[in-house]
């Protein structure tokens, strides 16, 4: 139980420090154009990596499981210009159904 509270406390402090670092150290400053151009591309880079990690990552290895079916369904919903809530629900339902079918 002590390990749980140590984990919570340390993780909270570390997370706060990570989130504060950029704004505190670099805040309020105009960045040179090349840096700004890199920063503008951080969003697509991080989001694409999050999609891959959250779909195929599994405790430090790759796995294709029902989440992939959910992501494919989400992509189709997006192509049909569905809203974010619809996309999320479609992905969850497709994943749940695929998982149930594979059991």
């Amino acid at each position: 139980m002590i390990a749980v509270w140590w984990t919570i406390g340390a993780l909270a402090l570390a997370t706060a420090a990570i989130k504060a670092a950029g704004p505190v150290l670099l805040g309020g400053r105009e960045l040179p154009a090349p840096t700004a151009s890199v920063i503008a591309l951080l969003a697509p880079a991080l989001l694409a990596a999050l999609v891959v990690a959250e779909t195929f990552g599994h405790d430090g290895r790759l796995s294709v499981d029902p989440r992939a079916a959910g992501l494919a369904a989400a992509a189709m919903a997006l192509a049909l210009r569905a809203g974010v809530v619809t996309v999320i629900v479609v992905a969850a339902v497709a994943t749940a159904l695929t998982r149930a079918a594979l059991l």
Partner: protein, 235 residues
């Protein structure tokens, strides 16, 4: 900035910045779908964490860590019998992505050091992506509003999950684990407005895919942010 007198006046593509309150309200409204997702994810965190750490610790963790992926990862390590160090390391690795996100918003954060650090606490994936106004510009008021809407959703979802009494024995059976990737995919779709963004996204996805089997969770996402260095090339 070039303006030609002979040209008829064209509508400014970047209208006068709205007031901070209006930006915050826009962020809170735009965050509604993500708040719904946060309720569901918070709920599944509460369900998973309560048997391991008890109701109070699970709720406190959501209140002061407020980072879904890191909480799930740290809890999974503890559940597998890992120590506090391993659990914290897993969570920190996942949260290191807030470092480049913080760098990205840094030029737009106002106030003294303390105020800037406090605003940095509003960094969560969805809010950060929504606050991106394009071309690297960020609206920090929108960021604050969006996060202010998601925080009670995450915390309330956790409380409900903790006291659900195993109502949902397995969040995976409901496909809740697909919510995050689907949500990031919908944010990504909105970012792919130009060819360079598409190339960067493809490269970042490839890096994450290549590193996933050989590095601890969290590392692939951080390493993939290097794909943004393509921005150093003149377009």
């Amino acid at each position: 900035m070039s303006s030609s007198q002979s040209q008829p006046p064209t509508p400014d593509p970047d209208p006068e910045p709205q007031s901070p309150a209006a930006s915050a309200a826009e962020g809170a409204r735009a965050a509604i779908p993500f708040s719904l997702a946060a309720v569901l994810l918070g709920f599944s965190f509460g369900v998973l964490a309560e048997p391991l750490m008890g109701a109070l610790a699970a709720i406190v963790m959501s209140a002061i860590v407020f980072a879904g992926a890191a909480q799930f990862a740290a809890t999974a390590v503890l559940a597998a019998g890992g120590g506090a160090e391993a659990a914290v390391a897993a969570g920190v690795l996942l949260n290191l992505r807030f470092l480049p996100m913080g760098v990205a918003i840094a030029p737009w954060v106002r106030g003294g050091r303390l105020a800037r650090g406090a605003q940095g606490q509003a960094l969560v994936d969805a809010s950060w992506a929504m606050a991106h106004r394009g071309e690297g510009r960020f609206d920090t008021d929108l960021l604050l509003g969006a996060t202010a809407a998601q925080y009670p959703a995450w915390l309330g979802g956790t409380v409900a999950g903790v006291f659900s009494g195993g109502l949902v024995p397995d969040p995976a059976a409901l496909g809740l684990d697909a919510i995050f990737p689907a949500f990031f995919l919908s944010l990504l779709a909105a970012e792919l407005g130009n060819r360079r963004a598409i190339v960067v996204a493809a490269l970042a996805g490839a890096i994450a895919l290549a590193l996933a089997p050989i590095t601890p969770p969290g590392v692939p996402v951080i390493a993939a942010s290097a794909a943004a260095l393509i921005g150093l090339r003149r377009s």
